[in-house]
Each structure stands twice: as structure tokens, then as C-alpha cells.
């Protein structure tokens, strides 16, 4: 199913991606991706393994070379490097909670504010830590001593320091216990209340749908479905989109 134009209830688009292609060397992963995210919107990006979800996030944040057009908050970001996208308020929390294990929790969060004036950095670091009291309490421990879930929260906290207008979270629930997943998704809900848009790549479909306004499905490097999470029959439509038009009988569910 092709992407439709942004809905009327979507405010002016915050992020607009069109004709985006990217890959690793010779291997093309994304081909001609179009995607729009409005201010304050939470959008889930779903898709089977190897569809290119992480690649899409990396291409948007500038971690990968890409072709196509990316506009963010009215600025052209098609050629931007990660430093520029971060400064513009487009922050990418990469998958696998890759925090710096040899540094303390507070240093990890401080680094996310590298380049900000000192006062501002201190204020915003405290703001970010306030989202996750668990790790705020361990601020002087080295990150290597945190559990996987705490490291994930630390990674999200790093993402918040810049007061992003759009936060891209890549599989924040991977390897987390259900309780911790809810904790992370609760943070997403609080962000939305505060007006921050979120692009969420998630394994747990139901939780992702519950947390989001809209959903994109990516398969084989292209957007195959775009829908509001309120629409009927979404799980079945997702299945069909995943397995392609030539899939046989729909899977039991």
C-alpha cells in the first residue's frame, strides 16, 4: 500500500523524507523511502527482520551516506552529518544500548550535551535524568555496572539531553523485561505530552501500536503500509504487507 499524503490531523510536518535510498557499500537496503512525521506525533516503524528499519534511522540521522531529500523543521538535512542533525533537534538513539561502559552514568549523559554551554548542559542533564530516577540514583557508578535495562534507559536519557524535537528510538525494548519495557514506553508517552515527536522502531507490535498515533511498515527496503493506529484490521493488513503481495494464505493469528 503506498503512502498517502499526511493526514489533516497531522500538523505541519516536522520531518519530511522523500525518495531516500541508502545501503552498505554495494548492498542497497533502502530504495525510495517516503515518510512524514508531524510535530509531537508518535510514529511506530514496523517491519520484518532485515527490512531496513535501522538503516532508515541511520540514513535520517546521517550515520550512513544516503541519497534523497530530508527536511527537518524547515531545514534541509539531506547532507547533514550526525552532529548537525543532533544540533537541529533530531536525535537518534541507536540500537543495542551502546553506552560508554567505562564512564560514569553522569559522564555518559554529560557527553550527550557536548558543545552546549555549561549551565545549559547541567540543567538539561538533570532534566533528562529526572525521567529515569533509577539511573539518576547511580549517577556516579560506571555504566558497565548497570543492567541491560538500565543501560537502555541511560541511552534514552542521553537522547533527551538535547531537548529533541524528534527522538528516534531503535528497538528500545530489545532484551528488556516487560516491566522495563513499560517503563521505557511510559517515557515515550511523557515525551509526547511534552510535545516531542517520536519515531519508534519496536519489536513488540502490540505495545508499539498502543504507544503510537500512526504506523509505517517497512518491508524489503520500501514503505509498504502507512496507517493510523486506530484503523480496523491493522494486524492482518500488517501481515499481508510483511509477506508481500504474493504471499499465500494469510497466516493464522
Amino acid at each position: 500500500m503506498p503512502t498517502s499524503a499526511p493526514r489533516s490531523r497531522t500538523p505541519e510536518p516536522l520531518l519530511q523524507v522523500s525518495g531516500l535510498s541508502a545501503g552498505y557499500g554495494k548492498i542497497g537496503v533502502l530504495s525510495g523511502v517516503d515518510l512524514t512525521i508531524g510535530s509531537g506525533e508518535v510514529v511506530a516503524l514496523l517491519g520484518p527482520n532485515g527490512a531496513g528499519k535501522s538503516t532508515l534511522l541511520k540514513a535520517i540521522s546521517g550515520l550512513l551516506p544516503r541519497t534523497g531529500r530530508i527536511t527537518f523543521a524547515g531545514q534541509d538535512m539531506s547532507k547533514a552529518d550526525p552532529g548537525e542533525t543532533v544540533r537541529a533537534g533530531l536525535v537518534h538513539v541507536v540500537e543495542g544500548h551502546r553506552v560508554f561502559t567505562q564512564l560514569s552514568v553522569i559522564d555518559n549523559v554529560m557527553l550527550a550535551g557536548y558543545g552546549l554551554p555549561r549551565d545549559k548542559r547541567t540543567t538539561q542533564v538533570e532534566e533528562a535524568l529526572a525521567f529515569f530516577p533509577d539511573i539518576a540514583a547511580k549517577r556516579h557508578d560506571r555504566a558497565v555496572t548497570l543492567s541491560g535495562g538500565q543501560q537502555q534507559m541511560l541511552a534514552v536519557a542521553q537522547g533527551l539531553v538535547r531537548r529533541p524535537r524528534l527522538l528516534m528510538l531503535d528497538e528500545p525494548s530489545a532484551g528488556l523485561s516487560p516491566v522495563l519495557v513499560d517503563r521505557v514506553l511510559a517515557a515515550v508517552a511523557r515525551l509526547r505530552e511534552g510535545g516531542t515527536a517520536v519515531l519508534l522502531v519496536e519489536q513488540l507490535i502490540e505495545k508499539a501500536l498502543a504507544a503510537s498515533d500512526r504506523v509505517y511498515a517497512l518491508a524489503r527496503g520500501s514503505i509498504v503500509l502507512e496507517a493510523s493506529t486506530g484503523e480496523d484490521d491493522l494486524p492482518n493488513r500488517l501481515e499481508r504487507a510483511y509477506f508481500g503481495q504474493d504471499a499465500h494464505a494469510p497466516l493464522a493469528s
Binding site: I27, Q203, D246, H248, A252
Partner: protein, 601 residues
């Protein structure tokens, strides 16, 4: 790269006799100039030419180490030093008081070089690049220090006279022809190696080490042979050098000479023989004609090295490789011909079974595989699916011997398979492909596929070196079966194209052809359909199915659910390193947990 380079390049049928002649002409011309130079009766030219030959004798061997195997041996001048002092000291009777005959002393110099070539090369078996470069550099530094300090044998800073070779190679044109003949011999044997399965294996170690291992190439054995040869040639060159110099001191062996050897090879292009030969000769001769620049020559060589590395890492030979600039046909289709499989696969082997029982593997604290059972039978396609990080590729790496599980058993027909020796898997006829195609970009597609059959030769390294009959039989057979494997996967029209010019999807099929060279009893495919079009996936599916029907057991790790459900006889679903479900495709499709895990992925 190898085009036009080696006169005996059997793998280069594309340009046919013309291409071979093209290469041969350069050698014939070089040979004629060398043979006829004494007619000028100019001893100055004679000495310059002798030095060029001597340097090339060393560089010819070093070329196999640097150009083919890709080992950065920057201090190879040490072999020249060792050979020179050994020959000189033995001839002068500085060791044991006996004056050796010069020819015998020269052989001893070669032996010394061979021994130390292997010793210095040892770290390269485990380490690459910088550490190895540093080892050879350190060795060169230390050899010079020892030469200065060990006065009894080397004469210290004062030096020692070099040997004078008696008839028939007495000083003058006799010695000239000695150097010329040995240089020609060095060229011939290294060119033979370069164009043999050993040469291709060296290049595979350089550019696609993991694929080389999976093809059964033993890096250690091969590199030891090459270091031995390169060390011996370096030692012999040293013996000749000491005679040419007539008096040697540690100052004669500067590190700058190493740079000259190294740059000669790099300019000429990696994996070529003619290029480095010309490069060495030109670098030796050039300063003679530009006297004011002599003191700056090392600086200029170093600057040249920097430019080559930054601008044309492939060497000048790459720039001249006009054949690879001819456009390929734009809309190519891969049309596999599974009907040819009966001639590619080995139907003789009876049914066999590969069993994984209760395999566990940890990376640090992470359990990558957590008690896995799996059975792959010949004649079946076994699909392995699951979300990212569920342990699919890790399982494949356990089977192919890269990882040693912390618990559990891996058995082939009831017998244990050893771990930690991935190159031994090829002997069991277990072949594999890789998630990211591993290829030798500069070699032709046919040569890439021939690498897969490296273990199927009977000729030894020495036989290939001397171009004996068994070497030719091996080459002929490998080439024929590679051509058949290519035809089977539908790439025969691209056999002579450089592999790095292929499209991604073509590389995937090329990897399958390379794996087929082992006539595999088991074939492990790691996401073969990634990056392929829908039509290509359909053809790939038919090919995989046909391979299994030919008697091979296929393990298919894949994300494309439709491909898995289309062609698999059995499917195992992994999640968090454990089997979530196993059964027929129909059973898996209706398995509730699988559907949610897979969709959630």
C-alpha cells in the same frame, strides 16, 4: 590485475592467445635486452643491470608475500643482509676457520634467508598488518645492530670482503649472466606459483580470509611455504649482492632499500609479476640517470608511496587495466541451470546427517545459543529463521567451526567434528556462503570460483613452482569444474569479468558456485536472498531446491519468509538462542508463537 602480467596465466583464457602473447612479449623483450646487454660492452651498464637483477631476485619472492598474500613485510632488506653476511663470512673463513667455496656459501646464504624468513613470518600467521609490519621492521633494525656488534664474523663497522665467484660466473659478464639467469629463474618460479591454485589461495587470504578458510585453505601452511621461498630468494640475492659490492659494511643495508623493494612492488600492482619486475628495475636504474636527485631518491620514493596509497592503491597496473573499463552489458539476467547440477555435485556419497545436540555458546555474559538441537539431513532444505540476534548466523558459525561452543555436541554421521579449525571443514565437504559476499575483487569471477576447489589438487607447492605435469592437470580440472559451477548458477557469461564489477545479486550466486566447488555434502547459506529481486529470489529458490535434491543437505538462514516456506522441507525457528518451534513449513505457518515472534521482529 593478473592480466598481461604472468606469461603462464592459465586462468586467463578471456583474451585467449592474444592476451597470453601480450604478456609474453613483454618478457621476451625484457629477456632479449638482458641477454644482449653485454654486446654494448659497457661495464657501467653491466653493474647497474646486475644490481637491478639482484634486487629483483629478492623482490620476486617478496612480491608473493606483499603483492599476493598482502602481508606488509617492510623490513625484508634483513634477508639481504643475512644472505650477504652469511655468504661473505663463510667464504672468508670467518666461521669455524674453514673457507667455504663461494657457490656453497651462496646456498648457505639462501638457507639462512629461508630460516629467518619463516621466523620473521611467524607472527603473520596470527596477526595482520601493523604488528607484522613492525616485526619485520624490528628485525631489520636488529640485524643491522648485530652486524655492527658481532665483529668476529661481520667485521663490525669496518666490514668484510664479499666472495669472488670462480668460473663459470667470474666477475664481469660471467657474474652478469649468473645474476641474469637467477633473476629469470626467480621470475619463472614465482610466476608459476602466482598462476597456480596456491597463488589464488594467497590472494584469497589477502582479500577474503574467511572465505579462504571456508574453502579449506590453510593459511599457516601456505604462508610458511611462501615465507620460506621469499626468505631463500632474499638470502641468495644477499649473497650475490655481497659479491657485487666486493666489500660489505652494515651501512650498505639501509632501511631505504626495503622501501625501494616495497614501492617497486606497489607501483607494479598487487598480484602481478611483470608490474613489480618493471617497477623494481625502473627504481634501481632511475637514480643513475638523475644524479642530482640521488640524495633525494628515498624521499621521492616515500612520497611516491604516499601518493600511490592515497590515489591509486591498486598500483599502476590498475590504471593500465583497460580491459576492465569496457562496459558490461547493462541489463544482465542470472539464469541458473539446475539441470547441470548432476555433473557438479558428487552423487556417490551416501545419505549423511549433521547433528547439533544441546549446543551452548556465550559471548561474555550473553548467551548467544542456549541449548540448541538441530538435525540437517542430506537431500533436504532446512530453513533456520528467527528475529535479529536469535542466534542464526552464530549457529552457522558453530557448524563451520569458527566458534567453539561452551557445551554440546556437533556430529557428522555420529562422529565428532573438531572446532577451532574452520579450514578443516572443507575436508568434510561442508561448504558455506556469507551474509556479506566475500570475494577477491581484482580476480576474475572464474578465479574466484576456482578458489572454492583449492583443496582438490594433487600437485604440491614445489610441483607448482616448477610447473610439473600434476600442476597442469590440477589447473585444467579446476578450471573445468569452475566453469561448470558457473554455468550451473547462470554466470558463465561473466566468467572473465573482474569480480568487483559484478552486481550484488550476481555475487550471491558466485558465492554459491564457489561453495559448489567442494561438491558439498552440506551447504550452509547465510541470507542468500538478501538484496535480490523477487524474480531472482524465485530462481535462487529453484536452484537451492535442486541442490538439495542432488543429495546435498542445505541449511538456509533467511529473512524472506516466502522463500523459506516455498522451498524448505523442514523449518526451525530460533528465538533468544533457543528453538521456538520446529516442523514442516505448514506447521510453522500456523504456529501461534512463531507468528507473533516473527511478525514482531
Amino acid at each position: 590485475m593478473t592480466d598481461a602480467a604472468s606469461p603462464i596465466s592459465t586462468a586467463k583464457a578471456p583474451a585467449g592467445w592474444l592476451g597470453r602473447l601480450e604478456g609474453s612479449w613483454s618478457w621476451i623483450a625484457l629477456g632479449l635486452v638482458g641477454l644482449l646487454l653485454p654486446l654494448l660492452d659497457d661495464s657501467y651498464f653491466g653493474v647497474i643491470a646486475q644490481r637491478a637483477y639482484i634486487y629483483w631476485i629478492l623482490s620476486a619472492g617478496l612480491n608473493l608475500v606483499v603483492g599476493y598474500a598482502g602481508q606488509i613485510a617492510i623490513g625484508w632488506v634483513a634477508m639481504l643482509t643475512l644472505g650477504a653476511y652469511t655468504t661473505a663470512a663463510l667464504t672468508a673463513g670467518r666461521v669455524g676457520g674453514v673457507e667455504w667455496p663461494p657457490y656453497l656459501a651462496l646456498i648457505a646464504g639462501g638457507a639462512m634467508g629461508a630460516v629467518f624468513g619463516v621466523i620473521v613470518g611467524l607472527p603473520a600467521l596470527r596477526l595482520r598488518t601493523f604488528y607484522f609490519a613492525m616485526t619485520t621492521l624490528g628485525f631489520a633494525t636488529i640485524v643491522t645492530q648485530v652486524a655492527l656488534a658481532w665483529k668476529d664474523v661481520t667485521g663490525g663497522g669496518v666490514g668484510t670482503p664479499g666472495p669472488v665467484f670462480p668460473w663459470p660466473f667470474e666477475p664481469g659478464w660471467g657474474f652478469y649472466y649468473f645474476c641474469f639467469g637467477l633473476a629469470a629463474l626467480a621470475t619463472w618460479i614465482t610466476a608459476n606459483i602466482g598462476s597456480s591454485r596456491y597463488g589464488r589461495a594467497l590472494v584469497a587470504i589477502r582479500d577474503a580470509e574467511v572465505a579462504a578458510e571456508a574453502s579449506g585453505i590453510s593459511k599457516a601452511k601456505l604462508l610458511v611455504a611462501v615465507f620460506l621461498l621469499a626468505g631463500a630468494l632474499g638470502g641468495i640475492a644477499g649473497g650475490l649482492f655481497s659479491s657485487l659490492q666486493s666489500y660489505i659494511t652494515p651501512d650498505a643495508f639501509t632501511f631505504e632499500m626495503s622501501v625501494l623493494f616495497f614501492i617497486g612492488i606497489l607501483i607494479g600492482g598487487r598480484g602481478s609479476i611483470l608490474g613489480p619486475a618493471l617497477g623494481t628495475i625502473i627504481l634501481t636504474v632511475l637514480p643513475e640517470f638523475a644524479a642530482p636527485l640521488v640524495q633525494w631518491s628515498t624521499f621521492l620514493y616515500a612520497a611516491l608511496l604516499l601518493v600511490i596509497v592515497l590515489v591509486i592503491p591498486g598500483g599502476i597496473a590498475d590504471l593500465l587495466d583497460y580491459k576492465s573499463r569496457r562496459p558490461l552489458e547493462q541489463h544482465r539476467e542470472i539464469v541458473p541451470r539446475p539441470e547441470l547440477l548432476s555433473r557438479v555435485l558428487d552423487a556417490k556419497g551416501g545419505p549423511s546427517v549433521l547433528t547439533l545436540a544441546n549446543i551452548e555458546l556465550h559471548f561474555g555474559g550473553v548467551r548467544a545459543i542456549d541449548g540448541l538441537d538441530l538435525e540437517i539431513c542430506s537431500g533436504e532444505v532446512h530453513g533456520l529463521i528467527g528475529p535479529n540476534g536469535s542466534g542464526k548466523t552464530t549457529t552457522l558459525n558453530v557448524i563451520s567451526g569458527y566458534y567453539r561452543p561452551s557445551a554440546g555436541e556437533l556430529k557428522l554421521n555420529g562422529a565428532d567434528l573438531p572446532f577451532d579449525r574452520p579450514h578443516a571443514r572443507a575436508g568434510y565437504r561442508i561448504a558455506r556462503t556469507f551474509q556479506t559476499p566475500r570475494l577477491v575483487g581484482a580476480a576474475s569471477v572464474l578465479e574466484n570460483v576456482m578458489i572454492g576447489g583449492t583443496i582438490d589438487g594433487s600437485g604440491s607447492f614445489a610441483e607448482s613452482m616448477l610447473s610439473l605435469p600434476r600442476h597442469h592437470r590440477d589447473e585444467k580440472r579446476l578450471k573445468e569444474s569452475a566453469a561448470r559451477a558457473l554455468a550451473t548458477v547462470g554466470l558463465e557469461s561473466l566468467a572473465d569479468v573482474r569480480a568487483d564489477r559484478l552486481q550484488h545479486s550476481e555475487l550471491r550466486f558466485m558465492e554459491i558456485a564457489r561453495a559448489l566447488m567442494l561438491r558439498p555434502a552440506f551447504l550452509l547459506l547465510d541470507e542468500p536472498a538478501a538484496g535480490l529481486s523477487a524474480e531472482e529470489i524465485r530462481r535462487l529458490g529453484a536452484l537451492i531446491k535442486a541442490i538439495s535434491r542432488g543429495g546435498t543437505g542445505v541449511l538456509l538462514v533467511e529473512h524472506h519468509a516466502d522463500l523459506i516456506f516455498d522451498i524448505c522441507d523442514r523449518v526451525t525457528v530460533l528465538n533468544l538462542g533457543k528453538v521456538l518451534a520446529a516442523g514442516t513449513p505448514a506447521e510453522i505457518r500456523s504456529h501461534r508463537e512463531v507468528v507473533s515472534a516473527y511478525l514482531g521482529a
